[in-house]
């Protein structure tokens, strides 16, 4: 069973609206939790909207140049079951490339920091 979620723009702090300046994903794409989906920008700041969960993008509800604000529905994602392995396409740093391997082989294990929870409303499909 998987769950479809509508990703909304979270609380933007003291910013009212932001422009959608980049769309970094497309329907059908598998994304990992934390992977950037949209770049949002105003004159003061730029930020990326991360995927709240591992899943597959079902639909993108905004277009380039749209103005959005907190609560705007922007992306529909089909959340993956928790047991399933994470997809590869992520914004997480990958393990070091082979040329650095010798010194990186024992890189420390860290607990993954909690990703910010984007404001989502879940519906069961």
């Amino acid at each position: 069973m998987s769950t479809e979620q509508t990703i909304k723009i979270p609380d933007l702090g003291d910013v009212d609206t932001v422009d959608v300046v980049e769309i970094l994903t497309e329907p059908g794409q598998s994304v990992a939790e934390g992977a950037p989906l949209l770049t949002l920008e105003n004159q003061k700041t730029a930020m990326e909207l991360p995927a709240p969960v591992n899943g597959v993008i079902k639909n993108i509800l905004v277009s380039l140049g749209d103005k959005v604000s907190a609560g705007t529905d922007v992306v529909i994602i089909e959340a993956e079951d928790a047991e399933q392995p994470k997809p590869e396409n992520t914004a997480e740093p990958k393990p070091p490339e082979p040329e650095q391997q010798k010194s990186a082989s024992a890189a420390p294990a860290q607990t993954a920091a909690q990703r910010p929870a984007a404001d989502t409303s879940a519906t069961t499909s």
């Binding site: 003061k44 730029a46 930020m47 991360p50």
Partner: protein, 888 residues
């Protein structure tokens, strides 16, 4: 006062004795750990009960490690002593010979003389080179001790006698640089340390960056230590102590400071009337460091063991550094009289010792056993950085030529008598006949036990040090289309080049291949630069993660800290931030991996505030980007005199390998950063970039065709059509838009056609121009080359006017290559608060001043009359008697 007195006065000595006896029993029966525990309990209980017990950070003026707790060196002390003596000798000879031949060269004998043992123990037993199973320790050698480091490399066979003979003679044949300079000896030195204070702060941030690499999972940096060798006089530099608390807070137990406390600075005692070791002990301990004092050598141990009444300890406490220094400039009889003579019991204690025996009572930093024990403990210590405070004698072994003398730091030559004494003191197998004005170097035969030992020790520690290796794999930089979102312009959307930079940074951070190598660094101005969006997505590096719920949790750009965080948010701390940048920008040489640091800061607080560190970065061949934010004297507007930068684009030009740009448009910025990535990380060029970005919002145009090369060389023509232009207008940065407006005014109101040029870098144009001019000068009969800027402007019509948001001298840099009338507008003078429009009027860089200047130059050439100029001045309400901006 009265309360203090009551604390210090013993109101009930009998009771005091009882308490002390009780403690004494614990010490005897249960040992010092138990005694320590009980005291801590008493202190804690006292505090809970409301007694204000201020923390006292000092311990007794004794070695931190008692003799019975000292780790014993596994080395052969006798062979090590002989090797150390040869190194001492060759270090002295190198300076001596250089100055015999050329007295102007200078050099220092006394610093290494005082620290030879400190280095030697490290080299024989601790400093690990980069090897198969070890990433390599990073050692910051004290700059003035460089002769000693060369002398060891000579014994190791890594430097040849010819090189030692060319100490401080670097031009022509291969010589040795005065101090550690990676620029001059790129295969040898890693860290320039001789500008006092830069070594310690760079070492702290290096240790932190090493942890950052580890915590982010980029490199395993376990086992690696950062050693920094410093002087006690050097510790007076604010940079030396300014970052101590950070090292303590971040628990950098990979960091070891060794402060060579020879009690002397250049002019005299460091703390003649006090004790530098005690002062530093409390400073470091207060900052959370593990402090190991190495005050007394082993010869003192039996005396201290017999000091049952504590009189010797009392005497050690009451003597001040000025006297300690003086003792070592005198002799044993003097020490007997002035040190031990203070109390009859102490005189009695040394009655059986000869004056020579008393003279032999050594300082801790000259005792390899004590030093070994201290290093050993420092290596084992966890949870804190360690500082070793080692008491030494400046000019140790120089005798009457320098030992303990106030003049010793400047001593670059000893007389022949002192040289012979030095030889005898350290048993150098050279005869009187072999010693002339020229002092021969001494190197034992390759199969001698000393040489075999020397090589064996280094082999066991992975190889030789120092060595600077450039083995980091080069990166493949994608094509310029990487920045397509920027190149296509912002449409109708107005945004600043700072925000364009943020877009570029985001693209790079997201890039699968490059992203992880990026190191965004900011000194508590992320929100100013619109970088706060990075916090949630990439995280702020925090050595302990995040223990609190941030106030803005739940918001999109929340303040997220993470042990794997990528952003270095350094607090209000430009010196530290630039040290982080340096560590990242030289990771290719010191960590074997190319990191891509972007340090963004208020441009005013860059070269002006931490210029010496940026100079050091150049010396280290840093590869990275310095982004001068909120740049431009009239662009920052309201912030006023201290913030408005009109000269960083001049200051940067002092650093030969700093490539600088003042772009006007987003696409220029994208082209420049892209080429910077290519040059530094794909081609491995020894340059770094300084780019100014501004906070004025305007529409960013799409990139025209065929301008990349001009953007990178420093100038290109902006107007597409080239009609019959009569004047050439040069603009840069935000002032570009005033130049364009001026061209419109000239056309519409005076029917004068202007060409518009975007100058992205006056300093790059100047460098190329100077290079061409020099070549032509030295090749008088060859066909002369023409500089790029001359090529661009020589075939144009009419005079040239330039305007920028920087001092006039910035645009003046290209004057020698322009054989035409060239007038420059700029923002000389102190900034002040007002609107951009008012400031540009005040500094005379707005469109109207540009028009008037263009008209005046045309009138000077006889194209129009002066009347037209006068009319324009009136028309634009310019007050001709207005005060000069530099005078008000």
């Amino acid at each position: 006062m009265s309360q203090e007195m009551s604390i210090l006065n013993d109101l009930n000595p009998e009771e005091t004795t009882e308490w002390i006896e009780a403690l004494d029993a614990v010490l005897r029966e249960e040992g010092p750990e138990r005694a320590h525990f009980l005291i801590e309990q008493l202190v804690a209980y006292s505090r809970q009960s409301g007694i204000n017990l201020p923390y006292k950070a000092n311990t007794a003026y004794l070695n931190t490690i008692p003799p019975e707790k000292e780790a014993k060196s596994p080395g052969d002390a006798e062979i090590e002593r002989r090797l150390r003596s040869y190194i001492r000798w060759n270090a002295m000879a190198m300076v001596q010979n250089a100055n015999t031949r050329n007295p102007e060269l200078g050099g220092h004998i006394a610093t290494f003389a005082s620290s030879a043992t400190l280095y030697d123990v490290g080299f024989n037993h601790f400093f690990h080179a980069r090897s198969k199973d070890h990433g390599g320790d990073l050692v910051y050698f004290q700059g003035h001790a460089s002769p000693g480091i060369y002398a060891r490399a000579f014994l190791e066979g890594r430097l040849q006698p010819e090189q030692l003979q060319r100490f401080r003679r670097e031009i022509g044949e291969k010589g040795l640089s005065s101090y550690p300079h990676p620029w001059l000896m790129p295969d040898f030195w890693q860290f320039p340390t001789v500008s006092m204070g830069l070594g310690p702060i760079m070492a702290i941030y290096q240790a932190r960056f090493t942890r950052y690499l580890h915590n982010r999972g980029i490199l395993n940096t376990d086992k690696r230590k950062i050693w920094a060798f410093l002087g006690d006089g050097e510790m007076d530099e604010p940079e030396s102590k300014g970052a101590l608390a950070m090292a303590g807070r971040e628990k950098l137990d990979n960091l070891i400071f060794v402060v060579n406390c020879n009690l002397q600075r250049l002019d005299g005692p460091v703390r003649g009337d006090g004790k530098i070791i005690q002062e530093l002990e409390s400073d470091f301990r207060g900052a959370g460091w593990n402090v190991i004092k190495v005050v007394w050598g082993s010869y003192w141990d039996p005396l201290l063991a017999r000091d049952t009444k504590g009189l010797l300890r009392k005497r050690m406490e009451e003597v001040v550094d000025g006297d300690y220094q003086n003792y070592k400039a005198k002799d044993g009889a003097y020490v007997r009289e002035h040190f031990f003579g203070a109390y009859p019991e102490l005189l009695e204690m040394v009655a059986n010792m000869s004056d020579e025996d008393i003279w032999r009572l050594n300082r801790g930093g000259h005792d390899p056993h004590k030093v070994y024990a201290a290093y050993h403990q420092a290596m084992q210590h966890t949870g804190q950085p360690t500082v070793i405070l080692a008491k030494t004698v400046k000019g140790y072994g120089m005798g009457h030529a320098g030992e303990g003398l106030n003049i010793t730091h400047q001593k670059k030559k000893m007389d022949i008598k002192a040289v012979k004494q030095f030889r005898d003191r350290f048993n150098i197998p050279l005869t009187d006949e072999q010693l002339s004005e020229e002092v021969p170097f001494y190197k034992p035969e390759p199969d001698s036990p000393e040489m075999i030992y020397l090589h064996e020790r280094r082999k066991a520690l992975g190889g030789y040090l120092p060595v600077r290796e450039q083995h980091a794999p080069l990166l493949q930089i994608p094509g310029l289309s990487l920045f397509d979102t920027v190149l296509k312009g912002s449409g109708e959307h107005a945004l600043s080049t700072t925000m364009v930079f943020m877009r570029i940074l985001s693209v790079l951070l997201r890039n699968q291949k490059l992203g992880k190598y990026l190191v965004p660094i900011v000194p508590d101005e992320a929100r100013t630069f619109g970088m706060d969006g990075l916090f949630q997505q990439y995280g702020i590096y925090s050595a302990i993660g995040q223990l609190f719920e941030p106030q803005d949790a739940g918001q999109m750009a929340w303040y997220r800290e993470d042990i794997k965080g990528q952003v270095l948010e350094e607090g209000i701390n430009e010196a530290g931030a630039v040290c982080s940048w340096i560590a990242a920008a030289t990771a290719y040489a010191n960590h074997g991996i190319q990191m891509i640091p972007f340090y963004i800061y208020y441009s005013m607080f860059g070269f002006q505030r931490v210029g010496d560190l940026m100079w050091a970065a150049g010396d280290m061949q840093a590869r990275g980007f310095l982004m001068g934010g909120t740049a431009g004297r009239t662009t920052l507007a309201g912030e006023g005199l201290q913030h408005q930068d009109g000269h960083s684009q001049l200051l940067q030009s002092a650093i030969p390998n700093c490539v600088s740009y003042d772009p006007a448009y987003g696409y220029e910025l994208a082209v420049i950063i892209h080429d910077g990535l290519r040059r530094m990380y794909q081609e491995g060029e020894a340059v770094f970039y300084y780019i100014t970005v501004m906070n004025e919002d305007y529409v960013q145009p799409a990139m025209p065709a065929n301008v990349e090369s001009g953007i990178l060389k420093g100038i290109y023509r902006l107007n597409k059509d080239r009609g019959k232009s009569q004047v050439q207008l040069l603009g840069s940065g935000t002032i570009m838009r005033e130049v364009i407006a001026a061209a419109d005014l000239l056309k519409n109101e005076f029917d004068i056609q202007a060409d518009i040029w975007s100058v992205t870098s006056y300093s790059e144009l100047r460098r190329e121009g100077l290079s061409v001019e020099r070549w032509n000068r030295l090749h008088p009969t060859k066909k002369p080359n023409i500089s790029y800027v001359e090529k661009c402007l020589s075939s144009t019509e009419g005079p040239i006017v330039a305007a920028s948001d920087y001092m006039k001298i910035v645009a003046d840099q290209i004057r020698p290559f322009i054989h035409k009338r060239y007038t420059v507008l700029g923002t000389d003078g102190y900034g002040r608060s007002d609107t951009r429009a008012a400031l540009r009027d005040f500094f005379e860089v707005n469109r109207f001043h540009i028009v008037v200047t263009a008209l005046k130059t045309l009138a000077d050439e006889g194209v129009i009359t002066m009347k037209v100029v006068e009319q324009a001045i009136k028309q634009y309400s310019i007050d001709p008697e207005k005060a000069e901006p530099t005078t008000v």
